[in-house]
Symmetry: C2
Subunit: 284 residues, 2 copies
């Protein structure tokens, strides 16, 4: 496995691989890898001959009062996990090499990025899109694999790919969960033992709504209340949002009809902001 | 010569050419080609094996009160000029295929694009960068050739290429002028006979400042006044800006020291807005 810090070196390797006709798969991560990331690597492996994992905590997607500086990092452990998983290249550039002091260009999305997490994290998706555009230009992947846990991120990135004609296929991998249902996240490491116990209430809450949906419930407010009630019963009262939106447009849905909807949650457990979601498909 | 309307077909041709190891050069234009454009084609020919001319009047870079609908178009004449010049591919997509009705992603530049033309044409460079990013993704050129006439555009695009790590080399071609000095522009066609005569005052004004500079004058206000005086003497009073800025950063310069400066003009001749510029290099 090669570990590459240098942007030009990464780009040259990609160009070389593609010249040889190899399919290149990228798994963009912010490191502190867990089984969720490794599932993305497996998915990338299935559809590509060279698997690149980028490991970069992107300062541009963190707000001034967010956890950029204390975001968990363990590059050595990450690299050994990637090595064991058969990753071909780990790309881990420095923040300084990724952003010039006078950097002034960004990629913006005006619609899908304004709701859900975008509403409480202004500038977040601008940072995400800009770094993903950069990574795509540097690595030139044929395929990029993202996790459904960051459902809005996937939708916003797919929109960028469509609107800017970026020649990358986006693959979305289902959420990987802990045995008790908590969605895997590098931020779970922030949780105390009691917070960790409480956190599994998020999935229970989503499941309660999914069960109601399966039983025929189609009212948006009812499904949202299902989630809110279970969260409240678990003591999770610091809710950023519980939203039922169209799975493609992310527009609010008051009644589920023939299109799939996304039921998405952001909640603070102690000081840690966690997100989770479930897709409800009327046709499934 | 191939004429391609379809985005996917253009992309496939580019991928195929690059697989064969060919160097691909792109000349992005809005059509209504003139000798200035053809000089860009010649420059592209010199450094690439496949020359693509894109011919697309980009609605996104026109303001609501600008000349998008009446911008001159003559695709047949353009194609025959490209054919004679040995262009390999003309790419002329429709506006509908380039922009979905719910398009929501754009590329923005926050610094260089805010002065000069950007100050009076809000959203213009957002439109330029977005369409150029799209063209780069579709055509995947090794080299793209732009004209120095749109000096700010070149600087803003070069900044995008740097900040988004776009693997395209930008070549800038000197301004091509009519015998009387007027910078070639598709918009010159708007000019009446008397306006056309008046318009050559723009270059005369820039030359007056360039002469003063050659004679040792280094004061920003003095050089700007040189331009303004000649413009006024020619009856060109509808001035958008006459600015002396650093050639790289586009920041205002009050005194020329050791760095090259850009002396740039935008002026209205009748209803037609024309731009021109000259670079003054203290070392040259």
């Amino acid at each position: 496995m090669r570990i590459i810090n240098n942007i030009n070196e990464m780009h040259r390797l990609s160009v070389e691989s593609r010249k040889q006709g190899m399919i290149l798969g990228l798994v963009p991560t912010m490191g502190y890898l867990h089984a969720g990331h490794m599932a993305l690597v497996t998915a990338a492996r299935k559809c590509s001959e060279v698997v690149v994992v980028s490991n970069f905590v992107n300062p541009m997607q963190f707000g001034p009062n967010e956890d950029y500086s204390k975001y968990p990092r363990d590059m050595e452990r990450d690299n050994s996990m990637c090595g064991e998983a058969g990753v071909d290249v780990v790309f881990c550039p420095s923040a300084e090499s990724m952003y010039s002091p006078d950097t002034s260009v960004s990629v913006n999305e005006d619609r899908l990025s304004k709701v859900l997490c975008g509403a409480s994290r202004p500038g977040h998706f601008r940072g995400v899109l800009t770094v993903v555009a950069k990574l795509f230009n540097i690595v030139q992947p044929d395929v990029a694999v993202f996790g459904q846990k960051d459902a809005q991120q996937v939708r916003v990135i797919s929109r960028m790919v469509r609107d800017l004609d970026i020649p990358v296929r986006i693959v979305v991998h289902p959420i990987v969960r802990e045995p008790d249902g908590l969605a895997m996240s590098s931020r779970n490491t922030y949780l105390s033992v009691s917070e960790r116990k409480q956190a599994c209430g998020i999935y229970k809450a989503l499941q309660a709504a999914a069960d109601a949906f399966k039983a025929g419930q189609r009212s948006g407010p009812y499904l949202v209340d299902c989630v809110r009630n279970v969260l409240a019963a678990t003591g999770l009262v610091c809710i950023d949002y519980v939203s039922l939106v169209d799975d493609a447009t992310l527009e609010p849905v008051t009644r589920v009809c023939d299109r799939a909807v996304l039921l998405a949650v952001a909640v603070r457990v102690g000081k840690t902001r966690l997100i989770d979601n479930v897709v409800l498909s009327p046709c499934a």
